[in-house]
Amino acid sequence: MAMTLSLRALSPRRLGWKVSPLGVLAACVIVFWAVIAVIGPWVAPHPPGEIVDYDFFGPLSAQFPLGTDYLGRDMLSRVLAGARYTVGISLAAVMLACTAGVVLGMTAAVIGGWTDTAISRVLDAVSSIPSKLFGLVVVAAIGSSIPVLIAVLAVVYTPGSYRFARALAVNVNTMDYVTVARARGERTGYLIRAEIMPNILGPVLADMGLRFVFIVLMLSGLSFLGLGVQPPNADWGSLVRENMGGLSFGAPAVLVPSLAIATLTISVNLLIDNLPTRIRDRSE
């Protein structure tokens, strides 16, 4: 066992920049959904809010490729239009969470001492509230709107990002070149920007992808509970909720949005797992 391990560590795959075909496929799916998120409403065959079929929970047909929903609206159009909410809100939230987490993490690592302890304790307390529960309580208190959703998701996932960035930054912080920079009197801002940041960027980006998956899942969960994107707009989680009534007779309207979420999240996971090692983890 140990033998095979050391052999693996020397193979070119471990050393180099090789990208696997699976990773390329995953990247294609992600790009596809990203494009749909931008142009979705324009390529939809029917207006997403319009009742186009007298039958509800219709099966797959030539006219309605993904069936119709509980009111007889075209599912394909609704999924295409919903991509904008799921991808857009998640992307905004992950940007906020990771920017805040990484900046705080690097600051804590560079300054150390009391600042470090204070930031860590507060964020630990935040992360000891189960995420869905936090979402429920806040949405119950101030109601659901897109800015509130983005803020809640960002707050919930900041501590994880902070802990990850801080652990990396602490290691970089002990390097000689950081000590040298400190000795020649550079300010904290410079140390963070020019010495720490470039050296943790790869793993931080990979971590951001993982966090994006968590955020998509939580947003879908909240929408599924009726606390996310409010009607008449609908993200993929809301689409599942709306059509839950069709589940007991296996309507495609329940499964299609769920599968849309699954393709997105699984692709992001696959892409990260198949990233070149150089990007994913510089310490290896």
């Binding site: 307390a125 949405v139 208190a141 009726g226 589940l247 007779f249």
Partner: protein, 317 residues
């Protein structure tokens, strides 16, 4: 147990208590942010200035928020969770029976998923890279990266719609036979087990693989010990700490999963109670449920940490 370890564990429990205090402050503050006046909403049409002032005083809403927080905290410590806005019943009473239902669901899920996940986690770690390992790991990654409701939806489609073995979404009170009870619990338990097991298999596998990398395992390999002996005698005893840690952490995923699963299957547990309370904005009820959830979560995380301290001498510095 030596005093140093005891101090560490007491310290960890102290941190948990402080965290619980901070969490209660956050929960209280979040529910304080409600725009609009609770009293106005409660009285509705009958909101004359006198009635509003009277009810406000009766509900102690005329006191500053900090005093109300202390009062609420004091009540919590004595098991008094206040009264529901919706029907004036004691929150503790409303929660009681529902909590038992949820604990039943959680216990059944744990009893079912812990042995299965342990076995799969260890086996996949031993036969790392084999077809079986790759198969299990792919399923695990798939389950982890999809929402809980997709797992539930697929379970309903497979077991209720296509195979017709189990009832779909109804959770009736039919307790006429053990079989009926089992059938009623099957769907939520299957869904939750999938979600929790996936986390558990992943963490267990990682813990065992980590141990298999250690020098003493290499030594055992070099001296010619059999594979079974290496795993059972050398690796497993050292992996038990991380594995129990992983178990406790994965069980905390139950808390998130249970919210979705109880909603889908209409299961009369505490999570469903809370989701309904959110719909009616019943703040005392939401606060009570939220505190119970946080307590359970902290309990599991603290157990995980304490086990890690006990199992790994290097964490004792």
């Amino acid at each position: 147990m030596n005093p140093q370890v005891l101090t560490l564990i007491l310290g960890r429990i102290g941190v948990a208590v402080v965290t619980l205090l901070i969490v209660s402050l956050i929960v209280f503050a979040a529910t304080e942010m409600l725009p609009g006046d609770v009293v106005q909403i409660l009285l509705g049409q009958a909101a004359t200035p006198e009635a509003v002032a009277g009810l406000r005083e009766a509900m102690n809403l005329d006191q500053p928020a900090f005093l109300r927080f202390l009062g609420w905290l004091g009540g919590l410590a004595q098991g008094d969770l206040g009264h529901s806005y919706a029907n004036r019943m004691a929150v503790a009473e409303l929660i009681g029976g529902r909590l038992v239902n949820t604990l039943k669901l959680a216990a059944l899920t744990a009893a079912f998923s812990v042995p299965v996940a342990l076995m799969l986690g260890i086996v996949t770690a031993i036969w790392r890279g084999s077809l079986f390992d790759r198969l299990v790991s792919s399923v695990v990654v798939a389950v982890i990266s999809v929402p809980e409701f997709l797992v539930a939806t697929l379970a309903v489609l497979i077991f209720a719609v296509w195979l017709g073995w189990l009832p779909a979404l109804s959770f009736g009170g039919d307790t006429s036979s053990i079989w009926a009870v089992l059938r009623a619990y099957a769907m939520p338990v299957i869904t939750l087990s999938f979600v929790v097991s996936a986390q558990m298999i992943r963490m267990t596998r990682a813990a065992v693989i980590e141990t298999l990398k250690s020098p003493y395992v290499e030594m055992a390999l070099l001296k010619g010990a059999s594979r079974a002996r290496i795993v059972l005698r050398h690796a497993l005893p050292n992996a038990i700490g991380p594995i129990v840690n992983a178990m406790a952490l994965s069980l905390s995923y139950l808390l998130g999963g249970v919210i979705i699963v109880e909603t889908i299957f209409n299961y009369p547990g505490i999570a469903k109670l809370m989701v309904d309370a959110v719909a009616t904005r019943d703040l005392p009820l939401i606060q009570g449920c939220a505190m119970i959830f946080c307590l359970g979560y902290l309990l599991l995380i603290t157990i995980a940490d304490v086990v890690a301290i006990l199992a790994n001498p290097r964490l004792r510095q």
